[in-house]
Amino acid sequence: TQLLEQSPQFLSIQEGENLTVYCNSSSVFSSLQWYRQEPGEGPVLLVTVVTGGEVKKLKRLTFQFGDARKDSSLHITAAQPGDTGLYLCAGPVGSARQLTFGSGTQLTVLP
């Protein structure tokens, strides 16, 4: 059973459209991270959210951490082809605080 569930699994949109990706869990996390991964590369950290209700903005990307710290969302405004990639949410678990990942959202932005 996946501790972090992401939806949708696949998303294909036209350039200029807006989109939201969701990351949900039945467990409380001390923090959640969002990564973007391109083919043949490792995940690259986009943001870490720590406080329940927190909203962080990174240019056209807006990240929100749920009040109960069990869910998070990533909203992209006016998507561009360069936003194409696999978006992953992850949170620390266990005594070693290793990261557990969601199954990912594969985003394709068509020109």
Binding site: S95, Q98, L99
Partner: protein, 110 residues
């Protein structure tokens, strides 16, 4: 400042063989974690090494083993390879839980 370096980048092995993957952590990082990522899926935690000891292990069989050296670099060994072991193997180094990932080793088992 070099990030996380993994070698080799690609590898093809035959079922039943053994493989060793290598990872050099980011400068200043003392902890190395290994992940297995199937195509289009999120990475799955294999194990984490700190101070040359395995600190935590995920749900992977004993065929998967590792080592960390005094310079913090690490190796992942997989014995008796199965077709299902084909995946991208990612190394992540960290210091105080801030993770940096390498580009991975693409392992294909035929």
């Amino acid at each position: 400042d070099a990030g996380v370096t993994q070698s080799p980048t690609h590898l093809i092995k035959t079922r039943g063989q053994q493989v060793t993957l290598r990872c050099s952590p980011k400068s200043g990082h003392d902890t190395v974690s290994w992940y297995q990522q199937a195509l289009g899926q999120g990475p799955q935690f294999i194990f984490q090494y700190y101070e040359e000891e395995e600190r935590q292990r995920g749900n992977f069989p004993d065929r998967f083993s590792g080592h960390q050296f005094p310079n913090y670099s690490s190796e992942l060994n997989v014995n008796a390879l199965l077709l299902g072991d084909s995946a991208l193997y990612l190394c992540a180094s960290s210091l105080d839980f801030g993770y940096t990932f390498g580009s991975g080793t693409r392992l294909t088992v035929v």
